[in-house]
């Protein structure tokens, strides 16, 4: 309880969430440009402040003062409300993230499930943006986003479910405490691999940035937006990146508990969880600068033919271990073996000669 009055308490917590979101986004955008720059043998932003550290602030001021344009043919209400529909769910997800056992806005009994449920809602914002803009590229991007996000939500939820089976709870604090000295990534490499890939797809980052694909559909759903509404989409996107990175480090990397244990005090624990989150974030940025974009049919067949069956394998393995009370080592070995099989299958598939598409991508009659 921060304040005695529940209304003031709720208001203060909401304000804290909003401030955290803005801070995180400013840092992440600067970091992303810096990292991408270094990987492409550039310096990235250098002019504004030392090492360009104030660049995000300057950009934010520019975006806030820019004209808020709306195309004449756009659907007024849907177009103007879409950024909010995309932005609010990501803030909602931030509410239930614990950073240490006692540092959180609100620790929910079903925290893990809550984050997955509310972050699924942001798809509605992209769909509204795509349809409301009255622009073919925007609509294409929105349709791609809907297909991709709905498909990859399933392996994401199943991978998390596999973890929840073993820990026996959906409370994020308890999941971290349950891991103790050995993080779940050791016993669940398959679950972690599926989580990582599905997360990349849910966040629409390379190699899964198909809905935004600048070189094909010029930014997709956000094509017609400018100024503050445009920046709200990017606020939402980067908050989501942060939320899922923290979630990954809590659920699979042992959170604040590993490897120092629970006795080191909260400042060190915050540093620990932020380090793990940064590792996940840097991995995402690294992948973004090195991998080319997938085609939409590759994306779909990868989800339904590889990720989903292996997510079920992970769940069955966990069920077997729970029912027959096998030691954790067996689970780790089986899960690692399954992850290797999945990797080998993907490698073999990617080496195969490109087959001619079974269904024509554009019908001969053409879509007007």
């Amino acid at each position: 309880m921060i304040a005695d009055n529940p209304w003031i308490d709720a208001a203060v917590r909401t304000l804290l969430v909003a401030l955290l979101a803005i801070l995180v986004v400013l840092i992440l955008i600067w970091l992303e440009r810096k990292v991408a720059g270094r990987m492409q043998m550039r310096l990235g932003p250098m002019v504004t402040g030392p090492y360009g550290i104030m660049q995000s602030v300057a950009d934010a001021i520019k975006l806030l003062t820019k004209e808020d344009l709306r195309p004449a043919t756009a659907d007024r209400w849907v177009f103007e409300l879409a950024p909010f529909a995309a932005f609010v769910p990501s803030l909602l997800a931030l509410i239930s993230l614990p950073f240490t056992a006692h540092l959180f806005v609100r620790n929910l009994e079903l925290g893990l499930f809550y984050i997955v449920a509310v972050s699924g809602l942001s798809t509605v914002g992209l769909l509204m943006a795509g349809w409301g803009s009255a622009n073919k590229y925007a609509l294409l991007g929105a349709v791609r986003a809907a297909a991709q996000l709905i498909s990859y939500e399933i392996p994401l939820v199943l991978a998390i479910l596999a973890v929840a089976m073993v820990s026996g709870t959906l409370n994020l604090v308890e999941i971290v405490n349950e891991q103790g000295r050995v993080p779940y990534i050791v016993w669940q490499p398959l679950g972690f691999a599926i989580f990582l890939i599905a997360t990349l797809a849910e966040l629409r980052r390379n190699p899964f940035d198909i809905p935004m694909a600048e070189s094909e559909i010029i930014g997709g759903p956000v094509i017609e937006y400018s100024g503050i509404r445009w920046s709200m989409f990017f606020l939402a996107e980067y908050v989501n990146v942060f939320v899922l990175s923290v979630l990954g480090s809590l659920v699979f990397l042992g959170g604040w508990n590993w490897p120092l244990g629970n006795e080191v005090g909260w400042p060190l624990q915050v540093v620990l969880i932020l380090l793990k989150t940064s590792a996940m974030l840097l991995l995402f940025m690294w992948l973004r600068s090195t991998l080319p974009r997938l085609r939409i049919d590759q994306l779909m067949s990868f989800c339904w033919q590889v990720l989903l069956p292996f997510a079920f394998v992970a769940i069955i393995l966990n069920g077997l271990v729970l029912v027959y009370e096998w030691p954790d080592v067996v689970l780790g070995l089986l899960s690692g073996f399954a992850a290797l099989v999945a990797g080998a299958l993907v490698y073999r598939g990617s080496r195969r000669a490109v087959p001619t598409p079974r269904w024509p991508l554009a019908p001969a009659r053409g879509i007007d």
Binding site: L110, T123, V124, L127, A147
Partner: protein, 165 residues
């Protein structure tokens, strides 16, 4: 009036507004968006009843998946492609059917003797919920999943057409 009651009336008003929007909006995409609003407000009512799991399932399944598929399909059609759906000679019959359903609902609501003061609801632990779902009611659960499976396979068979491609 307690805070819970006030919150309930706000949420109920949003639900009803969303439902009216679904029916009265001239644009089908608007209808679908209002449907999302109504379904999310229902999740709010579940939350008020301490059914947190049900509320989250409502958000995940209805808010995040089912209605998105509906919009997905709607976006690929245009209103002028389907004038029959918006204006058809069956309108009076639809009105009669809707009025009959409304009358039955009102009669049922008025005729029921509602229990007065009830006990305070306690949230059911997720563990008990899972036990009930997968032990006590495992057979109905499996039958429901089988029905969904049949529907899914049927939809795929229909979509593929008869020549198998």
């Amino acid at each position: 009036m307690s805070v819970e009651e006030g919150v309930f009336y706000v949420i109920a008003a949003i639900t009803v507004m969303g439902g009216m929007g679904v029916v009265f909006a001239r644009n089908v995409v608007y209808s679908a968006l209002f449907l999302i609003l109504a379904l999310l407000a229902v999740a709010g009512i579940f939350l008020l009843l301490s059914a947190e799991f049900l509320a989250l399932v409502q958000i995940l399944v209805y808010g995040g998946a089912v209605t998105i598929l509906v919009i997905f399909a709607l976006m690929l059609t245009r209103v002028q492609d389907m004038p029959a759906a918006l204006d058809s000679p069956q309108k009076p019959f639809a009105f009669l059917a809707a009025a009959a359903v409304l009358a039955i609902l009102i009669l049922a609501a008025v005729g029921t003797t509602w229990p007065g003061q009830t006990e305070k609801i306690n949230a059911i632990p997720l563990r008990d919920f899972g036990d009930a779902l997968f032990r006590t009611w495992a057979l109905p659960f499996e039958i429901a999943s089988l029905v969904l499976m049949v529907a899914l396979v049927g939809a795929i068979v229909l979509a593929r057409g008869e020549d198998g491609e």
